[in-house]
């Protein structure tokens, strides 16, 4: 059955470089001696520590609790002792440090008690969401948004289609590919659980057509459990086909409205690895403590000699993974977390793998040619999947005309980097967009602060005016009373 597909605007054909890391089966990474676990590995509020230095913890034990609605707890990836809670380098573009719980492993990898829920069908969706929240599950596709929130369509919203994103469109990254090949059953079972939580009418698994093995594995898993109403669909390999909005458009022909969410058009989209994590949380009672990570390198020369995917416990330093794959960090190389299109350089390879780390990519430090002025060639326009005019955005961002960048819909930019990749003038376009967005956010925050301050000031003036008026009124009253008294007295005298 050939299903109709749609097209998203723009996009690029990129060299995939996927076969390098898919030739060997996935193995477990070595258990590290020390695990460094940032309290924030998701979008939202950081988790609050539940343990103190010196505490013994078991594998899977909750060590930090969610704080606030948009937040998830954190669990110990292995058994051992908490040795400190302190600031350590985290994988973040800023290169800053952030509060982390450090665990020294005891080498036994001993689990805490797990409580599987074999009959999830009998659970209310809200109860299911709660279990997933307690298991610390976030989107594993890269953004790290708490999954339980995305499984909550909200009152009076019907979910028409649940899409599992197995496109994995960025070059070099193959962790989802390998997961689909090796754990298709878990993904399909996770999908069924998610579907129950959302009460979705249809389910589609979208996979780029450069992953025939993964596609076949998923199709077979579906057949095995008789899920005939869930479909696998191959989408053409074109970057960024794995972007949420792009995949939705390709599979359903619908556009997620600007400023809106997929749920506003009846669609929810999750990553395949998230589905597998949901399965393990429900059916095995295992919280999210590990994931598949691609360790590979780009370019010639040194780097990673045995590229592959490893199943990695969170908190494992990236450096150890690179070493396990016969890689060495020689001068002139840099480590990128994520793919070459949307990833960022990690300043310190002691930084740990976290929930959103899908790839550790070692590349030669780019000897970038200097940027030339924009020649308005329009190559970026042709590449942009959001149908923006990147050259105009650049022009105005550079001139700090932030209102104009918003006129040109800066906030519809998904920072996919397609424009910069094709720019003959070698302009780091995305850098300008990030900068402009940051400036606009800062200004808005400041304006809000100023508004609050102004409101307070106005309120105070009004209060003072009121007090004065009250005083005057009392004064006038007294005066009037006095005058009346006098008048009465005078009357008496006369």
């Amino acid at each position: 059955m050939k299903q109709k597909l749609w097209r998203f605007p723009g996009g690029l054909h990129l060299a995939g470089h996927k076969s390098e890391s898919t030739s060997v089966p996935v193995t477990k990474a070595r258990l590290p001696n020390r695990l460094v676990l940032p309290l924030q590995q998701h979008i939202g509020e950081p988790a609050k520590p539940l343990v103190a230095p010196g505490d013994r913890v078991l594998k899977g034990q909750m060590i930090a609790a969610a704080s606030g609605y948009v937040s998830v707890p954190l669990h110990a990836p292995t058994s051992g002792t908490v040795i400190e809670i302190a600031e350590y380098p985290i994988p973040h573009p800023s290169g800053l440090s952030a509060p982390c719980i450090v665990i020294e492993s005891d080498g036994t990898d001993k689990w805490c008690e797990r409580r599987p829920l074999a009959h999830y069908q009998t659970l209310e969706p809200s109860a299911l969401r709660n279990v997933l929240r307690e298991a610390g599950i976030v989107g594993l596709g890269g953004a790290g948004f708490p999954t339980f929130i995305k499984l909550n369509p909200g009152p009076d919203r019907k979910v028409d289609t649940l899409i599992l994103n197995g496109a994995e469109c960025e070059p070099y990254i193959t962790c989802d590919d390998m997961l689909m090949r090796e754990r298709a059953d878990e993904i399909v079972a996770g999908l069924a659980i998610m579907r129950h939580a959302l009460q979705a009418a249809h389910c589609i698994i979208g996979i780029e057509d450069n992953k025939p093995d993964a596609c076949a594995a998923i199709a077979q898993a579906l057949r095995k459990v008789g899920m005939i109403d869930m479909r696998v669909m191959q989408v053409p390999t074109r970057y960024p086909a794995g972007g949420e909005k792009q995949l939705i458009q390709v599979l359903t022909g619908k556009e997620v409205p600007s400023n809106g969410l997929p749920i506003h058009i009846g669609i929810v989209c999750h990553n395949v690895a998230t589905a597998a994590a949901v399965y393990r949380a429900i059916m095995h009672g295992e919280p999210l403590i590990a994931r598949y990570v691609t360790i590979t390198s780009a370019g010639t020369g040194a780097g990673v000699h045995a590229p592959r995917n490893l199943e990695v416990l969170f908190g494992t330093p990236m450096r150890e993974l690179i070493e396990q794959c016969s890689g060495a960090l020689t001068p002139g190389f840099q480590t990128i977390m994520g793919g070459p299109m949307m990833g960022f350089a990690v300043h310190d390879t002691a930084a740990p793998v976290i929930k959103t780390t899908h790839c550790v990519l070692v590349t030669q430090q780019a000897t970038t040619a200097p940027a030339l002025p924009c020649i308005r060639c329009g190559a970026c326009v042709e590449a942009c999947p959001a149908s923006l005019l990147p050259q105009q955005l650049y022009w105005h961002a550079r001139a700090k005309e932030f209102d104009k960048t918003q006129d040109y819909n800066l906030f519809d930019c998904i920072e996919c980097g397609a424009c910069a990749a094709v720019c003959p003038s070698n302009i780091p376009l995305v850098q300008y967009y990030r900068y402009a967005k940051g400036e606009i956010w800062t200004r808005e925050r400041e304006k809000q602060k100023a508004d609050v301050a102004r409101q307070r000031h106005e309120f105070r003036l009004a209060r003072l005016a009121q007090e004065k008026a009250d005083r005057e009124a009392r004064h006038a009253e007294k005066k009037a009373a006095l005058a009346l008294k006098q008048a009465q007295q005078e009357e008496k005298i006369h």
Binding site: F8, P9, L12, L14, P93, P171, K245, E255, P257, S258, N259, G260, A298, Q334, I336, G338, P340, M341, M342, G343, F344, H347, T363, Q365, A366, T368, A369, P370, L372, P373, C374, I375, R376, C377, G378, A379, V381, E382, P385, A386, S387, L388, L389, Q392, Y408, N409, D412, G417, A418, A420, A421, V422, C423, P424, S425, N426, P428, V430, Q431, R434
Partner: protein, 300 residues
Amino acid sequence: MSTPSSPYVHTAGSVTTVMLRVIYALLPGIAAYVWFFGWGVAVNIVFAVVVALVCEAGMLALRGRPLKPFLLDGSAAVTAVLLALALPSLAPWWMTLIGTAFAIIIAKQLYGGLGFNPFNPAMIGYVVLLISFPREMTLWLAPEMVSGHSMGETMSTNPIFGHLGGKGWEWINGLFLLGGLWLIYKKVISWHIPVTVLGSLALMAAVYFLIDRDLYASPLFHLFSGAAILGAFFIATDPVTASTTPRGRLYYGAGIGVFTYIIRTWGGYPDGIAFAVLLMNMAAPMIDYYTRPRVFGHKD
């Protein structure tokens, strides 16, 4: 050490690649030109390129800009080659000098150099020469009547900016056309501008040709008279000064075609391409503003 941010891959060539490809695409046409009309044009081209690079280097130095990246970008050379092709092949050296210098110094560098010039520098250079030395621009070439066309009188026989008529021009134009198609194939230019320039020119010509066959030249004549093909593929497509939105390029190209026909047919100058391009250069920012694509997720 600053770490550049993503993306870390760059799939496109550089500005130099783009400009070199434009020059490669012109080479077959130029070779035919030399074959049929002798070395004059080649000498002109080489001289113009040298002048352009010297002017560019001088201006960059005066403006305190780095020399190497901008001299190597190839844009000055492209301007020089196009201007030299627009001049009569026997143009005296000082005309090439003045035109090229004006194009690079005034029309390009004084506006801020690569990427900042609102007008096509080669066409500014050409028009300045045409206005200042109208006699010299047509002096060497005896005006010749094309049978049945009164417009033959207004169109000089300047080989490129005049009309075909002579043997060899089919070849030269045919090879320019081939070069232009190669540029589209290589994605150096998009089809929008050449197709709409030639399409609107042919359409205008067809309408008037049908009205009065004796008074107006045929569409084919218009398409294959010297400047149309070179203009449509190589001059109107100058990215810096053209419209930059996909839809805008359609209007931009159509405008050039229409103005070219009007100036050729009723204007006082031999060919309209240069003026048409400059006129549409002026309109480009406005066209860009009104032809912004519908952004993803914005239903109108």
